[in-house]
Symmetry: D2
Subunit: 384 residues, 4 copies
């Protein structure tokens, strides 16, 4: 592991992400497209009306446009046509993670970049979804369906339309999260694509369990979580304040849909954001997220968490429910067929931290500076 | 069960609490003292410095006065001398639950009321704690150490002293919660003492698992939770807003004391309040609580929850950790000896709702008006 | 002035309100009715549809019932039929301030109390508005139309119906505020009716400018503001949190109705509550209010503010707009005719604190303990 | 004016800022340095202890380092050495607005860029302040002291240290705001320096009153406000939530320093952020700011507000206090001498919108789609 500094909060910071890939994807000689930000996800759902009810009536997203096969949705601060598409299909899955690029020419770069990697690419001048123009879709080296576009129809940014706000109003798409068996391999590839690591989770042996990577200056535009993959872990939307997230929980309770809440609300250790995880009617996981920090400096400190630190995933030490580690959405290839899932061979975060063989600490053992009463108490022991 | 109306939120309301005691405490002919509100708790702690750190440095309570044996604490809106006393002692326990009465003469009524019940009573003109004058302490028929007082030293209400506020500022003592084996017996007795039921949890067979009772017009000044008792379940302090409660969690994380968080934060079904449960260094449970509703009308509707309703204890369906049901503080008699604990013989809420034989529903089964996707999904199944 | 203590926040506390009436209303020998709380106001509006739009579409109140002449509205935590009635009429005015009493027999007490005072009283077994039973209406000695009732139709308390909450959700009626020329005379009379003073504004000469009085244990059920009267100053509804009040402002901006905002949002000195004043389409003033403090103790300290303390009306020193002092709603007699308005002869708070002759201080002049830079700066000087 | 679209909120959006400079600064042939973000301001204060009290004890900023001449301060999420320096000096003034650049080589670009413009530049390998390395300072063509640096000492980002948070915790430096006589000239020059316009205020005749410009993807890193200049209008720091800003006001009230509040709190029309303006002991204006929107897309819509729209500066229509328009801090040249102030010759926003000749509307006049009651009411008329 590279030189690192332990913070007063218990985690470590380094100047560069100390992640080494043993089985890297080759780095193309072609430059990557200049990605601005995570822009939208296209989810295939099995019952469009039921999903529309969840995203529109429960979560309060705005409908830009819809037809019998798809609903194009956006949050209140978005000015491009949509930041979520739900499309009717036979199998619940992710159809695309779509990124906005800086110029129309970046599409040519995307084609060259992935072609050199031997990936299947498809370009459509008219776009793959309504409201989006010339676009490139690929199956990336990790098996994920990625899209790149510049052209889009502008719609009204509804940020000032407080008459449309609900107590749990969603304002932005924040990030994606992808499940992949080999996290360092994925990180190395996405670094080649221009992403920078902001935080990660490792253990003393150097196993990397998860990493967060950004283009826009937040903690992430996408993250990779170790597990059987390629699968989609979640898509995250932002609210302005924490009470907005609590209001979503309250509303789900009022609708007797509290079982749509999978995990949280809570405070993340990683990212320092306040969070909530929901499951949509097909089981697609949606995070509601607010208040991470600015990461735009070229030397933004990289945060590394010990996988055994019980506050890494939840700063309050609340245990992560197992389904959050094990369940995820299938992803489609460019023909709409689910990609096969490859098992993770590295250690599982679930296994090393929860259950019979796992352990987590709230405070580091052997920290002799702590008074006795601060030592050696484990929240999990209180709870299970 | 008496006539009741099902609300659109899934629970029931009645005009009077439909609780029948099979083994009631006798109703005295003497009128009860006129209780204004739950005023303070006296907790015995085994390490005074460590407890002081928790209540003052972590929770931000103000010290009115202290000596080598005790610290007298108050929240920001309190004008009486203290609303919590922590006193050094050999065994962690509750020494007294203290209620303010309306007039000095109510102390005479308290003596007569409990004397008629055959309870041991002790009256001290100089009070049992600093800052409190003429007081009566009793061991009540349920085994709890109750205190009544009118005289108290006024101290400055610090409500306007925003320079003293912390992000998790506590403003009022809200209520107590007592564990007792026979809930209907306890309810009947506290009704005799002048309390009114606002909410309860029952099952179809009429077993009562818990009840909430008030003097001041909030959901409760005290509650009884079924379990082995007499024991103290918790003492609750109020914040102004929900983010104050989240801030306490954040701070505990920063201090690497997140294992002091036992349950929550969350939204109660019962009381509709936002909550958090902490454990102090001795394991005394402290609730942080905000935003229940006004109950002062003489015909305030009584809310009855089905014990199997998965949203009764947490409106978001988050499972209750078992320790919350099973652990509680010993209570002392007037000589400072722990009261023996009697086992509950009625059904256990833990057992009927969690684990192998228990069940809970998010939506009522067989509700044919629901679409298919709203039926029969159980959050616990997602999580365990 | 009686013995008083100066607090560290700059105002004074006494054990009893030091208000003396030179021209008191006689104290009846008959006991007053036992008032539980301020329950509802009946406002006459000149355009029912336009007013309905304001209260329902903008403020989000729930309609319990309506017909061509009136709309019966309630907030989310109310279980009695309504806490606001808007009724169509030729002149915008207050028709009644209605209080709930503890028992049906309290109506007999109300009749006896006001009859002894020589006030016109009218009792209707069927009530004066829908949803309310046997009621007494009077023109009280100060000229205000007061109502008392016990019987009411229960409706569902919507507190748990978070699917109905808006970002600015109103949960309770909190209080009324009445403009009257002689504040001490009004205070003395309402004390006879059973109210207790919690706070007041005075000057060194003993002139009382306003007083706050309560039955339920909040800062007030009603207040009297010195001015030409009898007139209604405002009716106040409570939200849970401060952001709810900000959301109402944001929504009014989005609707291009920001000129409905008359004053605030801000923090009151008196009451310590967070506030906002709106004007409805007829100019009736509505306060939105949250987070005052508990006042239920029999010896609750009475707070007295100096009229020249610039933080008494707004803790942040924001100037009060003149219309807030000068404008108010007419009140009706039992025949529906506007009561004549009598001019105030005591000093005007507006004149002694704002404008050419008025002065206010942020810090007390001559406080030699302050560093120089804390002395003698006046916010009004910065602003006008 | 270029093609523009009126939004449903009443302002206009265009694809490019429609600002034309009649008297432009020449565009250098040398490329500008690549600015990452506004990084810190250096303010000269006349009483260092008194200013330290304001920034540290009142606002809660963290001291990274200090000596007898200067205090180096940072907010909780900052990892570079400081984002505010207060330095003792004879005249209260701005010493530098400092921007972080992407690479060390950008300093060479800065020197070339400003040298070509004929501006005085000074480069110091050891930096101008502690904690900052190799730096370039210039007096820019508008007379402002600008600094550029890459090298800095990293300090701990205290974002997770919730034990250090106060209720009004500041987390980031957000932006600067500069007063300049000729706004289009300033905008054109800062566009040459690489800034992009996000919002502006104009009138029908094409006069530009103010413009907001960004490097990082928020509404601004700096803004130019029309007035006598060069002067510093304010430096802005961000909080996480709106209640944090309210807490600062509450604390200032508790400290009897409410006259430090100049304007707000309120909701901006421009930027949609929630705001508060304070004046430090020397009169330097500090804004507290939260929750503007993401602007990082290359075609981010530019918002243009009508100067007569009463909601442009405050979405709730609250009048702007005149001092906010007229008062500002002097700025220093590289020798530490105050720059001469040049009068604005274009129309004054204060004059065209407030007072005898000014007018503002809440709703556009003549909008025949509005019901009568929504027309022609002016908040200022209610208030003054």
């Amino acid at each position: 592991m590279t030189e690192r500094t332990r913070t007063s909060s218990g985690f470590f910071v380094t100047r560069e992400a100390p992640i080494h890939a043993d089985d890297p994807v080759a780095t193309p000689t072609a430059p990557p497209p200049d990605i601005v930000r995570a822009a939208y996800a296209e989810l295939v759902v099995t019952d469009l009306a039921r999903s529309r009810e969840f995203y529109v009536d429960v979560l309060g997203m705005s409908v830009t446009e819809e037809d019998e096969n798809a609903v194009y949705l956006r949050t209140l601060e978005e000015f491009i046509h949509h930041n979520l598409v739900i499309r009717r299909g036979p199998v619940a899955a992710l159809a695309a993670l779509s990124y906005r690029v800086r110029t129309p020419e970046d599409l040519d770069r995307a084609v060259a970049f992935y072609t050199e990697l031997g990936c299947r690419t498809e370009r459509r001048a008219e776009g793959f979804t309504k409201g989006i123009g010339d676009s490139v879709r690929v199956v990336d080296p990790l098996g994920f369906p990625y899209e790149f576009f510049y052209e889009t129809e502008h719609v009204e940014r509804l940020a000032w339309r407080y008459d449309l706000y609900t107590p749990g109003a969603l304002v932005r798409l924040d990030h994606f999260n992808q499940v992949t068996p080999d996290v360092p391999r994925a990180v190395k590839h996405y670094q080649d694509l221009g992403f920078r690591v902001t935080e990660d989770i490792q253990d003393e042996a150097g196993t990397t369990y998860a990493a967060w990577m950004r283009r826009k200056p937040t903690v992430h535009d996408t993250a990779t979580t170790g597990g059987d993959g390629p699968r989609l872990h979640h898509v995250a939307f932002a609210t302005h304040e924490k009470h907005n997230i609590l209001a979503i929980c309250d509303k789900l309770g009022a609708l007797r849909l509290s079982d749509r809440i999978e995990r949280g609300p809570g405070r993340h250790g990683v990212s320092n954001a306040f969070y909530l995880y929901l499951r949509d009617p097909d089981g697609h996981r949606i995070e509601i997220y607010t208040q991470d920090y600015y990461t735009g400096d070229p030397d933004n400190p990289v945060v590394t968490w010990d996988v055994h630190d019980n506050q890494r995933r939840d700063w309050w030490g609340t245990p992560v429910v197992p389904s959050w580690y094990t369940e995820a959405s299938l992803v489609l290839d460019l023909d709409g067929n689910p990609q096969p899932v490859v098992s993770r061979t590295d250690s599982s975060e679930l296994e090393v931290t929860i259950g019979a063989d796992g352990f987590s600490y709230t405070r580091e053992l052997g920290d002799e500076d702590l008074p006795d009463w601060k030592k050696g108490e484990y929240k999990l022991g209180h709870q299970l």
